[in-house]
């Protein structure tokens, strides 16, 4: 359906093998890892990461990057908190507000970097500071407890081990991959990332897909903020500090190029799974925080190396 080419399937298999290897390894060396409960808890932890990784993949395909996703996640979360707790909005309206705010910030990143011809790295570095500041201002630096009204999205569905948020994130991954490989916009994202001059000369209005990718990532980050709030039952203006690096690591482990022109949402999904499983497994084995970080760092480099080598052959 998604019209994947043979090479792509092989790529997916490599990542799947890495993931399966990790699962089996942790299953072997720790107790209770291979239980539905543990695997379900891994699944329910990653919806926000999945959504943002999907958007980041599409953006990185164009050759852009967004360092502000962590801050935007924090700010959109406070929007959910403030609108629901202080203003008494209902969840659906708050979700729309959060997505709209994310969209606006993402579009700002896109318009400023594309129209003023500044590297997106710098513009979003600025936004990283700005959005975090806004989050604290909006929340008066206070954590907001939202409670049941928002928790449903993040809690496992009765009978299933996974949450609505996870299912929703999986749908977003499928749609994102479809967007990339089946739509006109998707092909334009690739063209712009691979060779922007050629794309321009071919009659593509190159600014549009680039701005669209930024805006879409912003909107997905807005939705991710809702999922994050639902998992914690509260909105914390500190949420998402350092999140951008986790997202980029997962996307890059999934084989998306930092230089643009090449990337796959499906592979980013596996990248997220690998990173999340690694983290959960290390905790399960009782690894200390420092050790966890050392192992995570090594695995990131090795995973990218494996992917690159496969491609070089």
């Amino acid at each position: 359906m998604l019209a994947l080419k043979r090479g792509t399937i092989a790529d997916l298999l490599v990542l799947l093998a890495v993931w399966a290897g990790l699962v089996l390894l942790f299953g072997e060396f720790s107790t209770g890892f291979l239980s539905p409960a543990t695997l379900g808890s891994v699944a329910n932890r990653i919806p926000a990461l999945l959504l943002v990784a999907t958007g980041m993949t599409l953006l990185m395909v164009t050759g852009g990057i967004d360092l502000s996703v962590g801050s935007v996640l924090g700010f959109c979360g406070t929007v959910v908190g403030v609108t629901m707790v202080d203003w008494g909005w209902s969840l659906p309206v708050a979700i729309v507000a959060s997505i709209a705010v994310g969209l606006a910030l993402g579009a700002t990143n896109g318009v400023v970097s594309v129209k003023l011809r500044l590297p997106s790295f710098i513009v979003t570095l600025g936004m990283l500071e700005i959005a975090r500041g806004l989050a604290f201002l909006a929340a008066h630096s206070r954590t907001k407890y939202i409670g049941d009204a928002v928790e449903g999205i993040g809690t496992p569905i009765a009978g299933l081990v996974v949450s609505p948020a996870f299912l929703c994130a999986v749908v977003a991954v499928v749609l994102g991959q479809g967007l990339l490989s089946l739509t006109v916009l998707g092909r334009q994202l690739v063209a712009v990332g691979a060779n922007i001059e050629a794309a321009r000369i071919s009659g593509i209005a190159v600014d549009r897909p680039r701005i669209a990718a930024h805006a879409l990532l912003g909107a997905l980050t807005g939705l991710a903020a809702v999922f994050n709030c639902s998992r914690l039952g509260s909105a914390d203006p500190n949420a998402g500090v350092g999140f951008e690096l986790s997202v980029i690591a997962a996307v890059v482990v999934g084989g998306t190029s930092l230089l643009g022109g090449r990337g796959s949402v499906a592979k980013s999904f596996l990248g997220v799974l690998i990173v999340a499983t690694l983290e959960a497994g290390l905790v399960q084995m009782g690894a200390s925080e420092p050790l966890k970080r050392v192992v995570t760092g090594i695995v990131i480099v090795v995973a990218v190396l494996a992917d690159t080598w496969r491609r070089r052959e």
Binding site: R187, G193, A198, S202, G203
Partner: protein, 508 residues
């Protein structure tokens, strides 16, 4: 008259690229544009095609009797003007069909690419122009000639009435040029107006109907092809008479400087790429290397320079000393220099200055204990800048803004500044104008007169024959002929170049 340009003037800051140029194109004609590097050819077509939008120039464009004001490339395309640019504009990451429909793919439900439809239409279009390519093939798997053909088909798919080609043959081998010529004649017969830019004057005679010559941004003459023999054209282009295009002055041969014996080279997992290659190159000699595209000429030079392939067997000696492993640094120290065919990609730091690029290979000699002797560097740069007659705003000019011929001189100057005994030139005149070519030929003569040896790869047979003392011909990585100057006729070279039939045709 499909398209007319009236009194166009275009300035870039202090530079006037076009000064009051007028030009017209009829339906069903091939109109050639000639001129030296920097004459303004590319600038003119950028105005015609909306790259420089309306308002950024003076004068007017008239399309079908109506004034045309293009705000963007897209506007010009919608008006039926298509351009094949000097630098290819394909996306390696996409398929042939996707490249063909990049700007406006067939859609389903408004947002989806209708892939089957795109591939069906692509196959039909490719077949119509006799290009036998798989529409689903990734673009990166194509050779440069095939990419060029895809570009042309892409332009034609838009049902353009005006097709502009900026040096389309610069990267093509002779037999691919034939395919192109056939396609262009066909288009002319269908009433399309073509503008054709080329530095290969011989091509024009059999292709063009009229020729317009530009010099220093102004129109010098528009001639019917019958009146446009090469001598006349060159006189218009350079503003003076040019009697002998290839003034090779043979020098008595000296000792052998480069000796290659039974060379066989493999690259990665692709298997053997060069086999059974033996030759000597003497001091004072120009040794030409001919062959079709893909014959392995660039690979031969690159291997000698230490940047390509693993040697399976054979011996290479420079000045009596064996050349082993070691990259360009070791080669340069040993007295072997290399000028690449793709100067923008491999030759220059485009954002840097002329001076920076000129001295880049000679930093060791221009420094003490790792600290640059900036005075000596400036003096040496100035010396070569003048010797080569580089035309730019001085050593501090940014190289990327120079015209092609002057960029080529900078690459050459960088190599020559290392004072090599043997210099390898790969397509040194690609995309440079007659005047610059003449200067380069004179330089080659001066080098051999000074006792250097030159290994010259060129796809232009007249140039190869006119300039070389002896010519080697490669075919599929093998040496299939060695010709003395007297025996080297185009026919003989072609026969040797085709000696071993190609396993898969490069282009249909």
């Amino acid at each position: 008259m499909i398209l007319s340009a009236r009194h166009l003037t275009k300035r870039f800051g202090a530079v006037t690229a076009l000064a009051d140029v007028s030009f017209d194109l009829r339906a069903g004609e091939i109109h050639a544009l000639c001129g030296e590097n920097g004459a303004g050819k590319s600038t003119l077509i950028k105005l015609l095609s909306g790259v420089h939008p309306f308002g950024s120039y003076q004068g007017e464009l008239v399309l079908d009797g109506q004034e045309a004001r293009f705000a963007s490339i897209r506007d010009a395309q919608d008006a039926g003007i298509a351009v094949i640019y000097q630098e290819l504009s394909c996306i390696d990451e996409l398929s042939v069909a996707e490249n063909l429909f990049l700007g406006r793919p067939p859609r389903r439900l408004g947002i989806f690419v209708d892939r089957p439809e795109a591939e069906r239409r692509a196959a039909a279009a490719l077949a119509r122009f006799g290009v036998g390519l798989d529409p689903a093939a990734p673009m990166r798997s194509l050779g440069i000639g095939q990419k060029q053909l895809v570009e042309i088909v892409k332009a034609l798919l838009r049902e353009s009435r005006v097709l502009i080609l900026d040096e389309p043959t610069a990267a093509l081998a002779e037999h691919e040029v034939e395919v192109l010529v056939a396609i262009l004649r066909d288009l002319r017969a269908r009433g399309i107006g073509l503008i054709y830019i080329s530095h290969r004057l011989e091509e024009l005679a059999r292709l063009a109907d009229r020729v317009t010559v530009l010099r220093d941004g102004a129109t010098v003459a528009t001639l019917p092809i019958a009146a446009a023999d090469p001598e006349t054209l060159v006189r218009h282009m350079v503003g003076r008479d040019v009697r002998d295009l290839y003034p090779r002055r043979s020098t008595p041969l000296g000792t052998p400087l480069l000796e290659v014996r039974d060379l066989a080279v493999a690259s990665g997992r692709d298997g053997l790429r060069l086999t059974d290659i033996s030759f000597d190159l003497h001091a004072g000699e120009v040794l030409g290397v001919g062959g079709l595209m893909g014959a392995g000429r660039t690979e031969l030079l690159a291997h000698l320079y230490g940047t390509w392939g693993d040697r399976i067997s054979g011996r290479v000696q420079l000045d009596g000393r064996p050349l082993h492993a070691g990259g360009p640094a070791a080669r340069l120290r040993a007295g072997l220099a290399f000028v690449t065919e793709d100067r923008r990609r491999y030759g220059l730091c485009l954002e840097q200055t002329v001076g920076f690029n000129l001295s880049l290979s000679s930093l060791g000699r221009l420094s003490h204990a790792g600290v640059l002797a900036r005075g000596a560097e400036a003096a040496r740069n100035r010396e070569w800048y003048e010797k080569l007659g580089i035309r730019a705003a001085g050593l501090a000019a940014i190289v990327g803004r120079l015209s092609g011929g002057n960029q080529q001189k900078v690459v050459l100057g960088k190599a020559l500044m290392t004072l090599p005994r043997v210099i390898m030139l790969d397509e040194p005149t690609r995309g440079i104008d007659v005047g610059a070519k003449m200067e380069l030929y004179a330089l080659v003569n001066a080098l051999t007169a000074a006792g250097c040896a030159v290994l010259l790869v060129s796809s232009e047979l007249p140039e190869l024959i006119g300039l070389s003392d002896r010519i080697l011909v490669l075919s599929r990585g093998r040496l299939t002929g060695v010709f003395e100057r007297e025996q080297a006729t185009p026919e003989a070279l072609m026969r040797a170049a085709l000696a071993a039939p190609l396993a898969r045709p490069d282009a249909a």
